[in-house]
Amino acid sequence: MNATQNDAHCRQGAPSVATAAKRAGTRDAKRTPGTRGGLRRREHWTGFSLCLPAWVLLCALYLAPIIVLALLSVTDYEMGAVRWKVVGLDNYRRAFSDPVFRRSLANTLLYMVLVVPLSVAGGLFIALLVHARGVSRAFYEVIYFLPVTATLVAMATVWQFLLHPTLGPFNHLLDLAGLGRHNFLNQPGLMLPTLAAIGIWQLLGFNMILFLSRLSQIPQSLYDAAAIDGASHAIDRFLCVTVPLLGPTLLFVIVTSSITAFKIFDTVAVLTQGRHGSEVLLYDIYLEGFTYSRTGYAAALTVIFLALILLLSVWQTRQLDKKVHYA
């Protein structure tokens, strides 16, 4: 979203700079005919040197690390090792035959499938409810936004207590209801859904705020027009006005929620330590890179991770962009 806005900005900015340069050029040309080519070249170099500091920083801060990462991923370098050699694509081959990596990939995707639809739909639903409130709106906004501002690691301790098999009130309630006690953070089949629930809990507020800001921009007259045009039921008006006008926000929320879900790490690190059934990509990378010091292999996993995120975002944006109206 930000990138597209920047793009648009650049596109608007570029012609005006060009015309200004042209205007300056013609004025100079009138004064000293014959040196126009030289002037243009000099302007060219001035422009280039003015861009240079930004380019250097861009390379040093963004491009260089990625290039280094890509280079590391084709070596067997280990943290602090003296000798290392180029192994080509061995790391990548190893990754796709590594059962832990494959499980992490599958778990991460499953986590995403659980978190993205529920946090987007839930965020929209809460936004609609909060939007309809009058004075109490600010109160609800704060309540739902709290998990966003709180550090997930800190909040995870609370969850750990709530879900504790013997001490936790949640299990106590389940027990009272006759459903038995469950170890949510230990049982392989339960860990991922539990992590997903915490992930949704954390994302809801953020998504809600994004939806709310857009909802308040939809003019009331559109709802009035829809009511007169035949959208007599609230659901009709929701589908006829709210959803299409939320389009760009919906796209943005889906993409950011997907990236956030794909990057799940902190709850896994704090609550389950990547126990069997809760392996995820980022935690796997963390283990390989920092615990086992297999830097080369971790770099290869990171490249795969980045490529997947990029693919996912581009695909989503392309798919949804066609259906979205930008006002």
Partner: protein, 397 residues
Amino acid sequence: MLGPDALHVDLALRGIAKQFGATMVLQDIDLAIAPGEFISLVGPSGCGKSTLLRVIAGLEQPDRGSVSLAGRCIDEMAPSERDVAMVFQSYALYPHLSVAQNIALPLEMRQLRWWQRWPIARTLSGLVSRQAKAIRLQINADVRALAQTLQLDTLLHRKPMQLSGGQRQRVALARAMIRAPRVFLMDEPLSNLDARLRVHLRDELVQLHRRLRVTFVYVTHDQSEAMTMSDRIAVMDEGRILQFGTPKQLYSDPDNLQVARFIGSPTINTLCVEADASGNWQYFDTPLGAIPGRQQQPQPGERLTLAVRPEYLSVAVEPIVACDRQWPMQLHRIEHHGADDYVFLVDARAPGDTALIARLPAASSLERADPGTAVHVGFRWSDVMRFDAAGLRVREP
């Protein structure tokens, strides 16, 4: 001016009242509108005219009173069931739909089931149900025909964003017209347009009304719009209808001072006069004598407001022959409006504010007079309307 059905009532409002918090937005509004009439609701902003329109549309529920259309009470009906269409000040076009889709929407909402309306279902239901396909084809044909009459046929595939203000307004009109409603409600539809276009579209609306012969209820704060277009005008203020009548009635025979002031440009002149100890009327220290036809002797200290339209004031450097009363004033400035000049006059005894405006045909003897010139101003009693201290018209002979 009124159609042959003028005696029948098409749209009737009875005792409409509405309160927002502590403010009474509408107070006991009664209004009977004949079929095919062009009615304007005018008044300063906040007078309740838009709320009244929304009550008719069903977008706002009144606290009391009822609305009936063609003899049927429509209080309980949803806006979409009322057989009314509305054009909004902001046009309220759906930004994500093309012009054609915008115009077609009211028909699609009515004639197609919800599952036939959604994009995927659109193609599917076209294959599955011949009926849906036939309806869709008919809607498309209707849209094209209407677009042609409103000169929108070349714009059908554009989005509202790509249209000018005038074009958007026409699309909004088309969307209202497509299902041939019994009543058109318009909420300041021209106020977002520039002056030239406004005058042009005013004419188009009048033509449209003439062609469709349905009831128009038109809300505006611009009295000249109301005067030029309407069969009858309801002037509103503070949630009440001050007067409901033809433009001519409102101009030459207003019921109260607010209506007299609101209608007409430039604004009507008002002179506050006071009865002196001997029962003679005084305007500053100009004795006006007794008001002809008024039987009652005024009480000392009694106040009246005399109102004269600018075109009935006479102004001249020399004393005026053809008038009943005259007094000296000073020329402040002259505005040239082509055929007419507006002459702004100040009273030497209360300088600073413009006291009176006279509207004289251009090329009068004052044309070249300098500001500050001493002039005579006069009127005839037959052109003067009287209002009491509460602003109500005094009509006694």
